[in-house]
Symmetry: D2
Subunit: 380 residues, 4 copies
């Protein structure tokens, strides 16, 4: 619970504080041992049901680089990456996420990860030879929020293709930027992530203090992962960066030319949260991929935390364009360490969709006296 009142409201319409005032009445205990020192989100392992179709989507359409592949698995990376992969596509029966994988600062951090999650009573599995090709000693856990998290340091270096402009497409993806997770209790999830060493950069709240979503980072961008309120644990999306906005438009243009425009779920647009330019598309299994560019530096410890009012119609799209309902409701299953889908628990808090879209929802363009640019939630 928290309050927007009493905070400093900026000329851009959101609120800033020095520390994210998110509190939970249902916390995961804080371990007595230190958290592993996480560098950044590094790769996602996706289970896909038709490997050829997924390869077409990620390689032929989106242009990711194949580091290595076999009949069951494809290892992909972005153009500026020097580690073995940023995305693993693995053939399976049920479309799902097998791992949210983070790189840590040194091999020793893996011991810390084991201790940290063991103290929390989580299932922990360590494999010296790694869970995927190209990566060595790794720890996978079922975290307290139900997500399959991985940590590793040891990784095969491959060529950073940043200068290989002969390989660039008009919509070239240059970096893995972040993950986004769906969880029923956002404040609980945020508190746990803070214990894991993450720092909140932005969030969405209402006057009653309900927290609808929060963005958290290790590397100094707006996020390495975000927690979105809803039925979970599920994966909301995985995001890759382009250099410029026209690269994202080029992906839309290409999807149109391929008569795949129905894979565009939302956007392109400018986020309020993060100030980045974005697009959401759906892979053949419905896994959501964000294409993202140009958020801001957040690396100072006192980086101002931005809080958006859930009724501010520019929070999710700075241009006020509507969020489609599927974007709020759909997500990918996540797997436990045995490869079985985790049960999904219904969200308990008010839903952002319900308070902003439909008969009970509303948003404003201007939070001022007089004409607020009021929008009935069902006016799209």
């Amino acid at each position: 619970m928290s309050e927007l009142k009493g905070r400093e409201k900026t000329s851009s319409g959101f609120y800033v504080t020095k520390e994210a005032p998110i509190v939970t009445d249902n916390p995961v205990p804080t371990p007595s041992v230190p958290a592993p020192d996480i560098l950044r989100c590094a790769y996602m392992e996706l289970v896909v049901t038709d490997l050829a179709k997924s390869r077409e989507f990620y390689v032929d359409v989106l242009g990711l680089t194949v580091t290595e592949e076999d009949e069951n698995t494809i290892y992909l990376r972005s153009l500026e990456e020097f580690i073995h992969h940023n995305l693993v596509l693995r053939k399976g029966d049920v479309a799902a996420v097998a791992a949210f994988s983070y790189r840590v600062r040194s091999p020793e951090e893996l011991d810390k990860a084991v201790a940290f999650y063991t103290e929390l009573g989580c299932r922990v599995e360590r494999r010296t030879e790694g869970f995927t090709k190209g990566i060595g000693d790794s720890v996978r856990v079922e975290d307290p929020l139900g997500f399959p998290y991985e940590f590793f340091y040891d990784v095969e270096h491959v060529e950073r293709l940043a200068w290989r402009y002969d390989l660039y497409t008009p919509g070239a993806l240059v970096r893995l930027d972040h993950f986004n997770q769906i969880t029923p209790d956002v404040p609980r999830a945020v508190k746990f992530m803070q214990d894991l060493g993450f720092r909140v950069t932005e969030d969405i709240q209402d006057e009653e203090g309900t927290v609808y979503a929060a963005w958290m980072r290790r590397k100094p961008t707006v996020h390495d992962t975000a927690m979105t309120g809803g039925d979970g644990p599920r994966m909301h999306h995985v995001a890759f960066s382009t250099h410029e906005k026209h690269n994202i438009l080029a992906i839309c243009d290409k999807l149109g030319a391929l008569r795949m425009s129905d894979r565009i779920e939302r956007g392109p647009g400018r986020h309020g949260v993060s100030n980045a330019f974005y697009l959401y598309i759906l892979d053949p299994d419905g896994h959501r991929v964000e294409i993202y560019t140009q958020d801001y530096y957040t690396g100072d410890p006192d980086n101002p935390v931005v809080t958006w009012d859930v009724h501010d119609n520019q929070r999710r799209d700075w241009w006020g364009n509507p969020v489609v309902p599927s974007w709020y409701t759909n997500g990918s299953l996540v797997l436990d360490l045995d490869g079985n889908p985790r049960e999904v628990v219904a969200g308990t808090d008010a839903s952002e969709m319900a308070v902003t879209i439909g008969a009970d929802g509303f948003s404003y363009t201007r939070d001022e006296e007089g004409d607020k640019g009021f929008k009935l939630g069902n006016t799209l």
Copy 2:
């Protein structure tokens, strides 16, 4: 009436013919005298109800250059223009369009305009001193479709500011590109415009030959004006060009920063028709302005005419994003030569909105066997 069948379908999903096969069973008679030789759409005269608010919108937000102004009128131009104005804002009681003005090739063409419209029985008014500042000898008519059209050659030259990059904003408007008119009977309107010397570049039809909209040009771009089916005569929009797509995104970003995002009606996006990048915004009176960039050269007499199937969901937005209903239904009144609003006549043909949005409408992403990317019209 016409048919999509039997035409050449391109790999992009539309049809091409050498001549626009649009026919009307209710034609305006073709005059026996030649039409005036029109160069291009040159300016629109808009009546606005609050001149200060309109000035803020067109000058402070959109960055048009004030050539001249007085207490009742503001004369605006784009950065690459060398004639006195591309837009006139005139204070009045009822928001409306007072003139769609075209430049002709020489002073002598005005005599032809007089003869052309006189033979059609239209009201014609000629003023040697012009109807607006900066422009000399001019002819205004109430055309057979009910629109106030103007023709002129004589005009004051002003400085072309194309090189004055110190005056550019991030969303700089560099040219007037086109008008768009709403008329109840598109084939009738197209036939008349062809008599006036326009050439169709693209249109939207269905299997039964209903023509929902058509684009027509004098200068070698996709259009100087378009005819959109609906209750008319009304003005659908006036369009200005930017150099690049990011300029259009910058306008959206600025509207967000000014908390005016509710002035964004549709877009930004990529048109199917014209292949241009677009944005539709609404001025303080609800006059619709398009920001537009990067259509293609159409100046050859055998330029292929592009026909889109009305059910092709990429025709209006190449990325398949939905067209909001207001974009189909709203428009600005037009004035007669006495300054009174013209009566609006209801459209008689099937409405594009009805056949593509709502319970009776549908669209497809792929016009192929199997999964067509079917979209119920009410699924936004």
Copy 3:
């Protein structure tokens, strides 16, 4: 001879007049018959000495589309083109230009072309079946300036690939924009081209009235061809358009990645003349290709003519970056109708390079009292 004095100087530093005041004391006679009505520059036929290498350059590096090819000839087009080709590469012993080809408004214009050049005593050859594949009835001439010009109307339509974004590269070329010719006597050449129906849009002069170069158009862009002073007849360059400036930067980046950066001769930069963004690169035979984007509309008959002072250091590059000497001195041979290279005649007027580069040259950044941003010509 002409004078800068007495003209209107704009705030951008150049001069404008309503008509290009270029006069020649050595005119080609004006024919008594009308000139053919030219639509636009349509294609160039280039003789190349290593067809495979040239194919690699134009297709693999620049991304032009192959319409058709055989062992001796490759027919290429840009993405927005609907006629058979914009560039023909023909294998031959001597690198040269075989034709500057223009499309005319109708088949009948070919008769006019024959009469026009015949009256001038030029060699004229007409082939009903065309000189290249894809094109029908054509007229080729050795024009009074020594250039091989072609005129045609009849042409095979091919698919306009403008919407095929799946085929676009980051540096996609979308249109043929213009030719540029080197001739020893620019005023004589301009006068002849005006008789052929071209209109001057911009030129470079000095206080004594020497004309160093002039730009002339049929379609309403800054030019379909330009006349550059120097030893001629030779071809200076052929230019293709991109949509945006980043597309041109992408070509540079790709040339770097391919370790072909030594093919970049000049740029990228912003032209003063034309206000376009540009890059000059050299094909394997040294034929110069310009990549060009974003000049302005010139279609009004009273379009203001822009005259640049030859000593204005921003005339050729708005950012003041130096023009490399090779750009002034090098050019491609042109062929007569028998396929033999035309003899090159030395320029007689002062050379733009001599007056702006080297010990005798100078330029200014600001033509004002005080600090002019003086540049010794040899200061690069």
Copy 4:
């Protein structure tokens, strides 16, 4: 001393290693106490001789935001910054740099800075109230290389204007990116900076192991500062970031429109080193400012170190465009803590300019057998 031989050469033409193999035979001693934990380069204090002229350059032309100003000093920030300033302009008699200022992770790091430099025998001055407005407790030192370095944590937060697109210009500067310092002995400087906690990301060497320049980072970009070989201590440049490449082109266009193109010293272009897009301009005192965008993430501890051969003509400009001699030779004086200019010591190693430009220099485009795209250094 080091060797290119034996390293892994990438397909892009440079070499990679896991650790920068730069060694010095003249090291600054490594302190026994820990270095302060530096977050990032934060601001530069520049002494300028005409405050009004400098304000015009940095505020009116470049669009930096004035946080605060008085008759002697102007405090400027970029659009994404939340600390008080990124640049201080202070009026003085001699143009120079008064401080390279870095932010540290916490207030306690200042004690470490004092101890670190004190052990090195450097002059150290600490002011609780700060050396500039908006900043509290600060330490300034005369470092072992002769540069005035500052460290601070305490700083006034101001509004981050990232979302205020109404304030953006076409060339908007969004972040301070890095400094660049000139020093006579690059290996010695690098070794010292490594002791201070910096990590090398790229460098330029030759076969004999001469190190011509090195780039070093704290935040995970290519650099917070670089060491360039030459007469020093001097400041080579200070760099601000834009979002996209077109923003940098817009600055060039604007300088042209203002007839200030002679302030453009070098570029725009694509760097080989850093892969960033760049422009170098000169302020009214000749202080060099770089405008920079789109380098890559370097935050992993094993980030591959890139070494460029000094004879690779694409190292400084990926497009092979020449580096002007002034860029190698000119720099700004730096001040000691009394405000007096530091004496400049001549560089001892081979000069990069000498080995690449002029009669004794050469470069290659392709380091392969056969045609290397050889460039005589004096061929510009």
